[in-house]
């Protein structure tokens, strides 16, 4: 079913989900949302599966006219969203009516915003994903960014308007600002750097370069010293890998990164902190701090708990009766005599 038409595509608006897995061995990048927390939240807010396809909108948002009533949500960057001129609250579900126009007056905080529509955006799956990889014109809407005249559909036969509104608690909403502290796990090639080089990496403040894109976030700042050259025999690249080429300047590899590369990688930004980087604008500062794998796993669990907090409010009576049932089961289990 047709959901909205594109009046203006904005700067770079693409369809993304959580990425394309299983084909990196053939050189196909994963692509997918750069800020996966915001995409997952947007989907939960409209009752979708966490990995449903959304729009990723960059700095200058699009202008979209709704063709049917729809429950939608906006998350991630505050790009100044308006629905028929009225400010739109972020991080909660809202209802758009046919004919209403979603527009953006300009970025206030962050770089990338996500729009989820109940039902999920319906573009053909290519190699198991709806994510757009523009460089190879793969996935999404004809493998490209949205432009005037495009019409996007949702995977439903009739309009989906949810009964109650969902929201992410205020205290859980990220504020991006312009200084980003990123947690990293050292490696895989940290042994290719001098102690001084690793000291530079953790002790310096780097600036986000305007040349950053979905492939990687380029940084400028103090050069990181290698122990024995920057070149390695090509090796796989993880989402968030901090690659340091011969010039000593780090690049954090993102969703559209090449599947393999021949430069040393000093560390890897942990998954829960990649959204911070996705929201970093040119000129923002970035610093790095080391964490252990255990701390990184705990950060993943913490992020999941925040996302799980987005759920429909249950009527109090139902809650009470469910609690009574649980209490009865607990009592029954406790009453069973233990063997031996």
């Amino acid at each position: 079913m047709r959901a909205f038409e594109v009046i203006d595509g904005g700067m770079l608006t693409t369809v993304q989900d959580l990425g394309r897995f299983g084909f990196q061995r053939y050189g196909v990048p994963t692509s997918g949302a750069l800020d996966q927390f915001s995409l997952r939240a947007a989907n939960r807010l409209v009752g979708n599966a966490e990995g449903a396809a959304c729009l990723e909108m960059t700095l200058v948002g699009p202008r979209l006219r709704f063709l049917v009533p729809a429950t939608v949500s906006l998350t991630g960057a505050d790009l100044g969203a308006r629905l028929d001129g009225r400010p739109v609250p972020l991080w909660e579900s809202i209802v758009a009516r046919p004919g209403e126009v979603l527009s953006f007056v300009g970025p206030k905080d962050g770089v990338r915003a996500y729009l989820a529509v109940a039902g999920g955006l319906d573009v053909p799956e290519v190699l198991g994903s709806r994510s757009t990889y523009t460089r190879s014109r793969l996935g999404g809407l004809d493998g490209r960014a949205l432009r005037t005249g495009d019409v996007l559909s949702v995977a439903r036969d009739r309009p989906v308007v949810l009964g109650g509104a969902l929201r992410l608690a205020d205290r859980e909403r990220p504020v991006y600002g312009h200084a980003h502290r990123l947690r990293v796990v050292l490696g895989p090639q940290d042994d290719r750097f001098t102690a001084e080089g690793i000291g530079t990496f953790f002790g310096s403040s780097y600036e986000v370069s305007p040349q950053s894109d979905r492939m990687g976030c380029r940084l400028t700042g103090p050069a990181i010293q290698h122990a024995r050259g920057a070149d390695i025999v090509s090796d796989g690249t993880a989402f968030g890998a901090v690659q340091v080429a011969g010039d000593g300047v780090p690049i954090v590899l993102l969703a559209d990164r090449g599947t393999a590369g021949g430069y040393t990688k000093i560390a890897t930004v942990i998954g829960p902190d990649i959204p911070r980087l996705a929201q970093a604008a040119p000129g923002d500062t970035v610093t790095f701090g080391a964490v252990t794998l255990e701390e990184a796993y705990e950060a993943v669990r913490q992020e999941d708990r925040v996302l799980a907090s987005i759920s429909p409010p249950r009527p109090a009576t139902a809650d009470a009766s469910r609690l009574r049932k649980v209490a009865a089961v607990v009592a029954a289990v406790a009453a069973v005599p233990k063997a031996g």
């Binding site: 897995f21 299983g22 084909f23 990196q24 061995r25 053939y26 050189g27 196909v28 990048p29 994963t30 290519v126 190699l127 460089r135 190879s136 793969l138 990293v184 796990v185 050292l186 490696g187 895989p188 090639q189 390695i232 025999v233 090509s234 090796d235 796989g236 690249t237 993880a238 989402f239 968030g240 890998a241 090449g258 599947t259 393999a260 590369g261 990688k265 890897t268 930004v269 942990i270 998954g271 794998l293 990184a296 796993y297 950060a299 993943v300 669990r301 999941d304």
Partner: protein, 244 residues
Amino acid sequence: MTAAAPRYLAAGEAALVVEFGEAIDPAINRRVHDLLLAIEAARVPGVRDLVPTYRSLLVSYDPRQSTFDTLRAAIASLTDRPAGTGRTTSRIVEIPTAYGGEFGPDLAFVAAHNNLTEADVVSIHTGTDYLVYMMGFSPGFTYLGGMSERIAAPRLKTPRTAIPAGSVGIAQQQTGIYPVESPGGWQLIGRTPVSLFDPSRVPPVVVEAGDYLRFRSVPSEDYRTISRAIRDGSWSLTIREMTT
């Protein structure tokens, strides 16, 4: 002989690298592909994706389902198996290629650069089974090993802005095929009508890492005949099995 145990390197909390060495070496590469097959056959829990390279395997995993330590133990039990339990045959995929003329505008340069005739270059280029060490950095691109240095040639000083899909090129001691139209600076010696990357197919490629690739010279008129036959589905690749 027991090969050295691999190194296990963290690549963040959602991937690890199993590193068998730091060289471009068919024996090291073989271990990478054998491990990939073993992990898939064992259906190791939590694994999301596998990226084989010349000398390492990147294992992406879901940190909600597994951890570095759990995976390292699971993978170590697979790599500890004695040699010879991996695959015993390799595929050789034949790639029909029209050399020279409009399809290979730099064949004359490559010949002159090496004091050879064009026919010599074609004969040397088609005389080897090339190991597909890995694929990447872009969709369908093959990193091939084994080209004779007798036909090596430098990259173009000024890269071309658009190279047709299927173009076969040489850059220094490497040879390869451009899977999709793209800019590039390799010396173009021929072109194949076979589509190396097609996202509407699963798998989207016709050769995979660990396979061998053999170029077969076809007359330029056959390029169009084969193209048509591929389009109407009446043509199929020649694939041989080789004991390894």
